[in-house]
Amino acid sequence: MSMRKWLFATIVICVWISGCAKEREVKQQSLQGSGFMKTNTNGDMQPDHINQQTAEQAAARIKAREDIKDAVAVNTSKKLLVAYQIKHMHRFYRKQIEKEIDRQLMHLFPNYQIVSSSDLKIFWKTKELRGKIGNKDWNEKKTDQQIEKIRQLSEERT
């Protein structure tokens, strides 16, 4: 009996710890990501790099919404990629919020082809891409390819 109890307790603890460990892992990683981004945005912008003004503006606009926790955006001359995280208590209305933001962005930036998503993975990816834009060997073509990739990923369904 005691053996069985022990076994059970061990398993519960193992499962729990592994769950927590994973969570921490993920958190750390995402923190690293944000640090990475910061150093890059603070770095000197090369003149031949794509102007990210539109993206900054879009991100600020979305972030200003009260149901949005965070937003990040990247643009090329033709495309605008916006990824955002919805505040948890508003996630019930995710579909409506997505639609609204789409409409909002299309209205604000009619000259761009807009890709937007509330998906966490897309958010991470966009953030990563945003960081890369500061790099010397980065160019518009690469950004365009990356945006296309992210768009495809965001449209994938099971």
Binding site: F8, K22, V26, D119, L120, K121, W124, E156, R157, T158
Partner: protein, 159 residues
């Protein structure tokens, strides 16, 4: 149904039912619910951790991460079932371990392991879904009805 059953009983039988009910050990419903909540919640939290893992290290989005997560949970369920631990957890957790997809996996895997002695074709093959089959049947049929009604309603009902 229960009432119908009761009506068929004679008065002596009904009397005994009451007599027996008084002395029967009651199921500890409140305690069971707390345990089901804790274990069921824990299993779901583990599932959440696994899906974040897949999202972070592989190209899965919130939309697509469901499949690998479910597959991993069923895999874990196989390990726990095979080691003879899942039924012990279940005696403690009740629905907490039966309702998550791991419980579905356990139903399939335990039947498969159990009937291996009757061979892989007639034993494992034929008995694998003897418990989980009803879940698939009712899920599929209910989905069929729901989807049919919804499709018809949107197409011709102008909804």
């Amino acid at each position: 149904m229960a009432n119908e059953k009761r009506k068929r009983l004679t008065s002596t039988q009904q009397e005994y039912h009451l007599f027996e009910k008084e002395r029967e050990t009651k199921r500890p419903v409140a305690k069971n619910c707390v345990r089901a909540f804790l274990v069921g919640g824990l299993i779901c939290a583990v599932g959440q951790a696994i899906s974040y893992f897949y999202m972070y290290f592989f190209d899965f989005t919130e939309q697509t991460v469901g499949n690998p997560t479910v597959a991993t949970m069923v895999f874990l369920s196989m390990i726990f079932t095979g080691l003879g631990v899942y039924d012990r957890i279940a005696q403690f957790a009740g629905a907490g371990s039966a309702v998550p997809v791991t419980g579905f996996g356990n139903a399939v895997i335990s039947a498969a392991i159990e009937h291996r002695t009757e061979g892989f074709v007639l034993g494992v093959g034929a008995n694998m879904f003897k418990l989980a089959g009803s879940v698939i049947l009712f899920g599929t049929f209910a989905a069929f009805v729901v989807a049919l009604v919804k499709t018809v309603a949107t197409k011709w009902g102008g909804l």
